[in-house]
Symmetry: D2
Subunit: 478 residues, 4 copies
């Protein structure tokens, strides 16, 4: 049994997120990213004419991966400045004082954090691709599975399960586009100096703007991010962080709505999110099979909205050339919002792969509801036969409500909706016509099929562009 004081873990990272993302945001990983950036700047400064001994560069390179978090923490307790502590640690380890020249802390941290954000965006984009791929496969598989569509949670008309999936899928598709575009146009801050004027780099390079521009280009190349800000202060505008988290909230919305709908379907026993061998639904009630993964997806969405509120709290709140009232917020909000969306996709991929629909139960529901589901078809037929739309609507409504009331009260032997419609002279709907409409209506899902095809086609193009991402199937979830 361990005796040392227990470390407080990040629940989102440890319980839900995937290893790739955990590594990207690890403390050690971050220190290494910072050191690599310092070395990239140092080499560029050397190449552009600054006197930097090659042995210093070598020494820094040798030490780059040797990360002693405890030693850094000890230094920070004195400096009360995290970057200064990491500079001193790296210099002490290398035995030189050459890094961070002409730089302010934010020349380091903003760029490294943006690198983490950018890579996380690409990671999330890939997860969205994987989700679209499975979703499209399941939509195709269930393209013609007729189900009862519901609006206001009340049986409305028939549709297909494939169409229902494609509907939420198209919402996810738009979220994917937002993420893909954001990743492509994400601007990094670059080396702007203490107040954004690049004064100190210019000082170092004898006020030669060409060399400073060259230096910055090399740093951007090192980061692998093409677009950059020109006018910033000490920090880049925090509305960019907001843009990122807002994109995550948008991306999570399609999955959250699909999850909610699966929870509703499970309540009618029409579908199940799946159940692993050995799984327990309830510690009390042995019979339970709960939609706990779908519920969890909603939980992640709620978390993301909270992180968005944090990001919104920073946007538009810059004082002069910048302050760090954002610091503790970004330390939490940036990684945690990516851990949350990552956990959401891990869960969503599992649900998409494992959910089942139960045709026997589905058919029984359609059987029960069909005359009502066709109320618009009866109405359209009456209209085509010359009835005024609003008058016919009123007549059909009367009969539908009466028939439904009888059903609710369990009245045996009372006239059905079809009986009632056929008997009403205002509608001119004879029993044969009504029977025909019933017959055809049971499987007439309008354009549902072609709509599903259109969705799958759109996804095919994305899979073709990202084949590896599309093949990802998710980790085993808790």
């Amino acid at each position: 049994m361990p005796e040392e004081p227990e470390l407080a873990l990040n629940v989102l990272a440890e319980r839900y997120a995937s290893p790739a993302l955990r590594r990207l945001w690890s403390q050690r990983g971050r220190v290494v990213l910072e050191r690599r950036l310092w070395i990239a700047v140092l080499k560029a400064q050397r190449d552009l004419g600054l006197a930097v001994p090659q042995e210093a560069i070598n020494a820094y390179e040798r030490s780059a991966e040797q990360v002693d978090l405890d030693s850094i923490a000890r230094r920070e307790r004195i400096t009360r400045h995290d970057v200064k502590a990491r500079i001193e640690e790296f210099c002490a380890r290398a035995g030189w004082e050459h890094i961070h020249k002409g730089m302010t802390s934010r020349d380091l941290t903003e760029n490294v954090e943006q690198l983490q954000v950018h890579r996380s965006l690409l990671h999330v984009r890939d997860r969205a691709v994987a989700a679209l791929a499975i979703l499209s496969r399941r939509a195709k598989e269930l393209r013609d599975q007729v189900i009862t569509a519901r609006t206001h949670n009340v049986a409305a008309q028939v549709t297909t399960m494939g169409k229902r999936l494609a509907m939420f899928g198209e919402e996810l598709l738009r979220g994917f586009e937002t993420i893909e575009r954001l990743a492509a146009h994400y601007p990094v801050r670059g080396l702007q100096g203490a107040v954004g004027t690049q004064l100190d780099q210019l000082n170092l390079f004898e006020n030669d703007p060409a060399r400073v521009r060259d230096l910055e280009d090399r740093v951007l190349h090192h980061l692998g991010i093409a677009r950059h800000w020109v006018n910033t202060g000490q920090v880049y505008p925090r509305s960019l962080d907001f843009e990122v988290v807002a994109a995550l909230v948008q991306l999570a919305s399609g999955p959250a709505s699909l999850a909610k709908t699966l929870r509703l379907m499970a309540g009618h026993d029409l579908a199940s999110e799946g159940f692993a061998p050995g799984q327990t639904g309830s510690s009390a009630m042995p019979h339970k099979r709960n939609s706990r993964s779908c519920e969890r997806i909603q939980g992640f969405h709620t978390l993301l909205k909270g992180y968005l509120s944090m990001a919104a709290g920073l946007a538009g709140d810059q004082w002069n050339e910048g302050d760090v009232s954002c610091s503790v917020v970004r330390r939490v909000m940036l990684p945690d919002s990516f851990f949350a969306i990552d956990g959401l996709f891990e869960t969503f991929l599992t649900v998409l792969g494992q959910f089942e629909v139960f045709p026997a139960v589905i058919d029984a529901e359609i059987e029960r509801c069909l005359p009502f589901l066709l109320s618009t078809s009866f109405l359209m037929e009456a209209v085509k036969r010359g009835a005024g739309r609003e008058s016919a609507h009123k007549t059909v409504k009367e009969h539908a409500l009466a028939a439904a009331a009888d059903l609710r009260e369990g009245k045996a032997g009372s006239p059905t909706l079809l009986d009632r419609l056929a008997a009403d002279p205002r509608l001119e709907l004879d029993p044969d016509t009504l029977r025909r409409i019933m017959e055809e209506g049971r499987t007439n899902t309008g354009n549902a099929g072609p709509q599903v095809d259109a969705f799958c086609e759109a996804v095919e193009a994305i899979i073709a562009a990202h084949p590896e991402a599309a093949a990802y199937r998710g980790e085993a979830i808790l």
Copy 2:
């Protein structure tokens, strides 16, 4: 004095927003937009083969602008269904029952609301253009006005007022890009029917998908929005509304940060947001000139974040093919968020046109702070002369803190920062060098000038694309 019961007004619309936006979201205006859409559908149905008497179309067209809100309200108290009330009113007025065939309420309302949103996005984009135009003009005008840059609200280095404006301007520029792209790619729902399968239009057109597609194309053309959803339920995904309000929050962030910074500058008497003739600052204190317009800009930003929370509350919460738990939220959140951003821009345009800077006070501040503002320059010089970066940093810090402490305590005759630096052998900075750095440093704002130029150039391209929008100068504000 009026005696009738006072109507509760929308404060944002009546007090802050511009007439154009108020008209767009008016009750009457909306009813007319709906009727025009019904007529467009009716004509298209007729053209595509449905039996619709020409007199009916004529009658609807004659009645389209005759809006009796009270009569509609009376009908709604019976139907408890707003669209049904408006159908009945329009039909009663025209004397026919031909509109809304094959349509569900959302075929009407979603499209009309999206039309309002789309036009509002274009309106807001135009206001952003106007703001960028003035901001660029002021930035050019103040391109070389040296000021004390501050980070953590503490004097840091010198920069220029033009650069400070360009910095917030570039944030606004990104917000503008987001809005422009969103307006260009905003997808409308179209005629999808009760559960999104277009069943009833297909019914009307004998299951001919080509004619239904044609019908939809004509409706989209009527709306003037190019992109549309393929797979929806009764409603389009509410994450699209979220995307819209998030774009507004982002757009407001540059102005909010600039406003905050002007409030800070006014506290040091370095600038003023302007003061109209006859204006009163305080009802108690006659001398006050308050930054109330800048404060108001922040207020609008706070409001927008609240509307975003409402929009986020709807995203990812769709039940099956849709419900209307979003209805009352969207009635409030959509117009009010546009009124808020419009009020923000009216206020921001006023501030941008009227704010002043006070060079005498600015110069006095620089004079007071200059040796400290140049601490990095002293450091860079020491480094260029061979000092270790971290050791030199420590030495300069010691002297700067000591000199600052003397100043705070009002100690006359104590050695200045320059005296102290010159006297320290660890730095090898002789008095002449220090004097030269002081001389040059007073106006050395690094790349600030060229950065401003880059911003103004970017804005020029936007002005060229939107010359009319760029010429707008704002209404007189309260």
Copy 3:
């Protein structure tokens, strides 16, 4: 047809809120409240020794109710200061310049707004009382109506409809307590002067703190609010506004959860929120009876959370002795959050009065689910007979999942859960025992009945304390 420019109305106030609240927050009503406060201060100043002509007081009193909003608006366009405009208007109307002496704008506006908030809190408390009264009546009426309880939206055990109502009722009860306590301990700002030191009133009264304290007491007495702040700046802390809106969000939560559950029940046809004669469910589908009022309740809750975000945006953001970055926010957020909660209660009262449950459908559901609902009873019985709890849980789970799978697949003639349990030697549950458990279990709702009684008793005490409020039944809603 009216031709004048249409006024933008406050949708929440005009469409959903009750007249009492609309009046309280009307423009005219506010101007009168302000004038009454000015006169109260003036009289108190006179009584405490200041030279104020009686004719001036008479003139102000005569003019107090003569409110010309247009004239005030014209003045404000010059002063750009709303209070100064209203001072000038009132003085011009009365022909004297005696009001507002020693006062700053906030001595007026904070107190008047707090009066509006305080009265709104009492109004909302009364609506909560009315809701509790009906809820308690319906809970008593349905105390023994057995229903299928669900957790994770899956059938779990039996409970009663009365218990379900009491469960959400007890949540509302706690919200009510919060509101009642807040109204009782709500502290008003009082006359604190421009920066909170009461300097100008002290000046007027020759630095006599006793007379200033007396003045303030008279003002508090005029306002009818007992508690007041001692240390404020120009404004009272905005975290008090936050406290108010947070209390509203809490209060709305019980109704929102009940509404959500009714929507779910309506989806299974177990209940309906009610349907008025003449009401239309869907403009397309004549058969629809939607839970639109319950959906609307959720909408109000979403709005309230947005207003809370606005209130949170103001809390903890005070600069020095105060600023007005809160002004436009409070103009919107304070009335609109009360309109939203008021609309919520009007809707909730309607739903509570009109909702129906359908015993025939409820019984059919219990019949279908009963063996599963009793899985814990089988388990407890096995445990009592000596089985290990976890082993027995595993065994019952196996059989329950298998039986459920058969049902889902519509397998006729497969063994039932009871058959399976009886046949398993690990459980020692003979068919007679199982039958007895089934027999007793159908109506064994544990402590549900007494729990309902406890809720009703708690509500009785509240009704006794607020009989008039308890009798309110709500306005007709749209």
Copy 4:
């Protein structure tokens, strides 16, 4: 250098929170709390007549502190149910299957989480006491330190630094009251069973409600929380979590406003939050002394508002007797919001202990602003001499604006505000009077002193009630 995969840490807990709170929310600590609860239930069941072998109880007690998190994690990967995994682990370790009888998971987890919340509330209350104690001491120390009060960030009148502290202190005081009351009235869920009817405990005790009530009383006594819910479902209403986090946001508001004001004061060099020996302000600019702790306090406030948004997302969203869409949210939001408020208080205590004011700079500011700060005094004097209030306001305003304009433009030799006022016949203010007002006004801070005393007195009573808590001074912060 460690090689094992790095664990993702909870930044808030590890970097900012105090050890006491970290322990309370640790994984291991939670497992032990659960086991202690199971044992308490088991013993109570035994005492009330259930057959439970003493050896089983002994075995559970022996194993209670032996926590093997890895083994539990392995089990959970099979059960996909965290509580089931922990039941199985505890039973395997003890060698018996007697715990959790008649219980559902939520009978365990809700109560344990509420225990953690309740203890955290008491912890936070104690930190608020400590903060009030120091704040009161500093307010007393600076009771008579005259400073320039600002509204709208513009110099307004004089006040004292003690009063400024008491102002934010009184806001904190109200937050403290909210927390103290909430802790006193916090209702725990208790043993309610799977759907809230206590069915299974009743089953175990032969339907004897008295024994079940007795059982529950013993459990509540074990938890040490007096108040409990009567009507719940599987879960207690999530609006209670909302109430908790809202109380934290309220509590944080006074400190956040004080921190913001200290940041503003530091920008004018009037105050500093303190600077530790060895501390670095900026890695670039050696001279910087930043208000980074005050900025951090604001950051915590922003975080708390985000957690509140998460809590609000759960309130009013209960489906039937409950679901777990709240699960992942509460795992994050509950501990993290307490870690954030704890970090805030650690930082705030440090700032309160270390902040300095600089009288020399303060006096210089008063000197510069005094004639303007006294504009209301000049106005009151003119009014006392018979001038109309509004006319005199206009006259003083004219002169004040003109004098200020001259100062801004650095015009030497132009008439001062006093010169101008004395020369204006409309005011009847002779030079002697003006000089007297200046003389007296420099230190006339109205009721500021007695207001500070009232605050300190209120705090004394709290210190007397919580002497130990009041003595806490905070950990060393990063």
